[in-house]
């Protein structure tokens, strides 16, 4: 959509105005002064916007603040950071090495990775393997799949969907199978974490993606897909297709 206004034709102008009737720039304004039809369209869209604004301004009830619990260290939530897909690839790799180094030091020292939640690490990891998220129908071979999901970890049958990526990766200091299947809305990442025990299912969000970490046996499985993807449907398929060896 051309919103710069340079050499803007009527169709482009109308698209821009319909996206934002109050948009203004020298170039956009230059078009409308020379075109009566577009001037009328702009006036119509601005009138429509006034009606939209009035309609959206619903009355609010008497809003109350809930009882706020005392803040203790274990009561403070670290909001998951957003996945920044615009990060240059080289920077994402450098950052992931730095994160891996921090995590590695902490893991070697005393277990879990300090301030970085499991969800944070998962999102950071996905960011540094963008090549995994290709839309393709080329399946990984049985040989590769069994090498990544090896019998010491468990088994995974192909009923889960088209498996188009399989790689052994490190999350939270542990080597785990990183798989990608093709979903309705795009590639879906599956991280099989047989040693990562979680108490209950937890959801998280990155930029444009939703994720869930599900407890499965003594481990867990993370599923991350596009925001519009029906992850609930995938969850059951994944749970049914994985069997831990441990």
């Amino acid at each position: 959509m051309n919103v710069s206004g340079k050499n803007m034709n009527c169709e482009e102008y109308k698209e821009a105005i319909a996206a934002n009737p109050s948009t203004s720039s020298a170039d956009v304004d230059a078009h409308v002064v020379t075109c009566e039809s577009c001037a009328a369209f702009q006036a119509e869209m601005q009138a429509l916007d006034s009606r939209i604004a009035a309609a959206l301004a619903i009355n609010t009830p008497d809003l109350k603040t809930p009882d706020l619990p005392p803040i203790e260290d274990d009561n403070v939530v670290n909001m998951p950071f957003e996945r920044k897909s615009k990060t240059p690839f080289w920077l994402a790799i450098a950052a992931s090495f730095a994160l891996a180094a921090i995590i590695g030091v902490q893991f070697a020292g005393n277990g879990p990775a300090g301030d970085y939640s499991l969800a944070d690490q998962i999102l950071a990891h996905i960011d540094h393997e963008p090549g995994a998220l290709r839309v393709t129908d080329v399946l990984v071979s049985d040989e590769r799949l069994s090498r990544v999901v090896n019998p010491s970890v468990g088994t995974m049958d192909r009923s889960v969907g088209l498996i188009t990526y399989a790689q052994s990766c490190v999350i939270n200091g542990r080597t785990i199978p990183h798989l990608v299947i093709q979903g309705e809305k795009g590639p879906i990442t599956l991280l099989l974490m047989p040693d990562e025990m979680v108490d209950s299912a937890s959801t998280f969000m990155g930029e444009g993606v939703d994720g869930i970490i599900l407890p499965v046996g003594n481990g867990s499985i993370a599923i991350i897909g596009e925001r519009e993807e029906n992850l609930a449907e995938i969850e059951q398929k994944v749970m049914d297709s994985v069997e831990w060896s441990i």
């Binding site: 319909a18 009561n75 909001m79």
Partner: protein, 171 residues
């Protein structure tokens, strides 16, 4: 500064931030979930989460998008917890009807119903732009989509509403 002072200062900051944007949070939630009673619940949960994570808000000037992001997440969590696909808009509850027709203005009511019926993908950026005054870039960041997609959705949303209003006028 002792811990009591710190707690009081934290509470003052929270009240300061929330008092400015509480209504925006409610309206955004109401248009996201299209149900005033669910919106109140979502906002309550969002406020609790905001309180617990207040330290993550570095500048008060960034409070509005921060709070709206929390509302957005809480709304998603609410529907996930309840396993509700969507709010049924063909069979309006009394609360939903009241939300649409709180004033005796049939044109306003028609527009509200048309916005109510817009798909989530179109309704949300429209609310963020027209009601919250967000820029295209801010909407893109909040929704996790490209700016081009935001522009397209806004364009389509307005055309859908215009078509609905034209139909109403012709009827």
């Amino acid at each position: 500064m002792n811990s009591n002072d710190t707690d009081r200062e934290r509470r003052r900051r929270f009240d300061r931030v929330v008092s400015v944007f509480h209504q925006d949070m409610y309206r955004y939630a109401a248009w996201l979930c299209r149900d005033p009673s669910i919106a109140e619940e979502v906002v309550q949960e969002a406020l609790l989460r905001a309180w617990k994570s207040l330290d993550a808000l570095r500048e008060d000037s960034a409070a509005k998008p921060w709070l709206l992001t929390i509302v957005r997440r809480e709304n998603a969590r609410y529907f996930e917890r309840k396993r509700l696909e969507t709010v049924d808009i063909d069979d309006l509850s009394p609360a939903q009807s009241a939300m649409l027709a709180e004033r005796e203005d049939s044109q306003l009511e028609d527009m509200r119903l048309a916005i109510f019926r817009l798909e989530d993908d179109y309704r949300e950026p429209l609310v963020l732009q027209v009601l919250m005054g967000h820029s295209t870039r801010e909407i893109a960041e909040l929704m996790g989509i490209q700016q081009g997609a935001v522009l397209t959705r806004l364009h389509r949303a307005r055309h859908k509403l215009k078509d609905e209003m034209d139909k109403e006028a012709a009827a």
